[in-house]
């Protein structure tokens, strides 16, 4: 009984201001997720915690809003023929294992080094992975833009060609997004890494989507749509695990879902108007911006662990709020690029339709 009382005490009071805030953040997060397959969730955990929600409840509730959102997004993008369900499920299952292992590592770090140690680990993972992958994705998008080949079909990378050329009997599976048979032995570590990242920074897609594009050879649009299937599989398993411990605050999850379903539908529609390299632009821009947000927090945790000298209270406060502001900015910037690209795409379509009418083609 005590446990029940304690668990219920984890759930904060919801007033109209909190509800509006969560709804709006949910909308923007959903918009980005619908477009790049993931990436809207990283702001929600700290966002909820800023309302006084305990860390684990925030993580659990975030996950419980993520899987229904990913489901709706995946169904929508499947209508546009962008989803490779088989690849999503195969990667999703190994991602689930990655989530469990990632959570286990988190727990042991927390036990050994305390909260500051675990926060430092999360921040360093953020900075390292977002730095490497984000820069790579952004550079690739920039190169495509500079070369003026934004209309052409995306080229399959050398690594992907090599992966597709390897034949390991008994493990080969055909995936329609790759239009090739590849060994599932390649998908397992990629899914696992996606899950581990999801357990660590709440966004597995920052590994999952680039991995599908650059290592397996999937087109950007299909990779980002298929990521929604992975997110659904991971989120469903993860939510159930947390719900078993009574940590899911369904009110928070559903209020965020209220906003994010408006967003995810819009983001999914947006993908039909843009050139595929825009997926990489949005993803890279968000990754590199968020990187700065987390990098600012590294000295805070290092000082808490006694690795560097003590920081003053004002400095810590300033770093914390700047870090959170940059995170919100990253998401808003991503949403802005999505909406702008969509608007331009719609205008171009309307002009083309008008032209067709005036030429008597319709």
């Amino acid at each position: 009984m005590h446990d029940i009382v304690n668990a219920a005490a984890n759930f904060i009071n919801l007033d109209i201001v909190n509800i509006t805030y969560l709804f709006l953040v949910g909308f923007v997060g959903g918009l980005v997720s619908g477009f790049i397959g993931s990436g809207g969730a990283f702001v929600l955990t700290p966002g909820m915690m800023s309302l006084g929600v305990p860390g684990l409840v925030a993580v659990a509730s975030n996950m419980c809003h993520k899987f229904p959102k990913a489901l709706v997004g995946a169904l929508k993008r499947a209508k546009y023929g962008q989803v490779d369900v088989k690849l999503g499920i195969v990667l999703g299952i190994s991602a689930e294992a990655g989530v469990l292992y990632g959570a286990h590592i988190q727990e042991s770090i927390k036990k050994t080094f305390g909260d500051a140690g675990s926060n430092l680990y999360v921040s360093v993972a953020f900075v390292a992975i977002l730095g490497i992958v984000g820069t790579f994705v952004l550079r690739d998008a920039w190169k495509t833009y500079k070369s003026g080949s934004t209309h052409e079909e995306e080229k399959v990378t050398k690594i992907a060609k090599w992966v597709q050329s390897i034949n390991i009997p008994g493990t080969m599976v055909y995936f329609k997004s790759l239009n090739a048979r590849i060994s599932v032995l390649f998908t397992i570590p990629l899914g696992f890494a996606t899950g581990m990242l999801a357990a660590t920074i709440a966004v597995g897609g920052f590994i999952g989507v680039p991995a599908m594009i650059y290592v397996l050879g999937a087109p950007s649009l299909m990779a980002s749509a298929t990521e929604l299937v992975i997110a659904f599989v991971m989120g469903l398993g993860g939510s159930f695990k947390y719900a078993m411990s009574g940590l899911v605050d369904i009110r928070l999850a559903m209020v965020i879902l209220g906003g994010s379903l408006f967003g995810i539908q819009l983001g999914a529609i947006g993908t039909t108007y843009v050139k595929p390299f825009m997926i990489k632009v949005v993803m890279g821009v968000i990754m590199v911006t968020v990187l700065f947000s987390r990098a600012l927090m590294v000295p805070v945790y290092m000082s808490q662990l006694g690795l560097i000298g003590q920081l003053g209270d004002t400095t810590v406060k300033a770093l914390k709020s700047t870090s959170f502001a940059i995170m919100i900015f990253a998401l808003a910037l991503g949403a802005f690029i999505v909406l702008k690209a969509m608007w331009q795409g719609r205008q171009a379509e309307k002009m083309a339709a008008q032209k067709a009418v005036s030429h008597g083609k319709v």
Partner: protein, 83 residues
């Protein structure tokens, strides 16, 4: 805004799903104490939040999808990207 080329918009369906969605949210927010109590128990009660999430995603997902269609925001007509 309309780009439906005379296609019928799902106004009725959107309205029904919208009302059901609002009713679900109202029911949830008006019964917070009971819901928190059950969900905080954990164990097999874990199926409850999962079931609730699926119901909301079906109803609210259908509503939000139709909402944008009614607003005139639809997917690009051409399969290929716009130049």
């Amino acid at each position: 805004m309309g780009s439906g080329y005379g296609k019928k918009k799902p106004v009725g369906k959107m309205a029904i799903m919208g009302i059901v969605s609002i009713a679900l949210y109202a029911a949830m927010l008006l019964n917070q104490d009971i819901i928190n109590d059950y969900l905080g128990r954990g164990g097999l009660y874990a199926v409850l939040p999962i079931a609730i999430a699926f119901i909301f995603s079906f109803v609210h997902g259908s509503f939000t999808g139709d909402f944008w269609t009614v607003m005139g925001v639809e997917a690009a007509k051409k399969k290929k990207e716009v130049k």
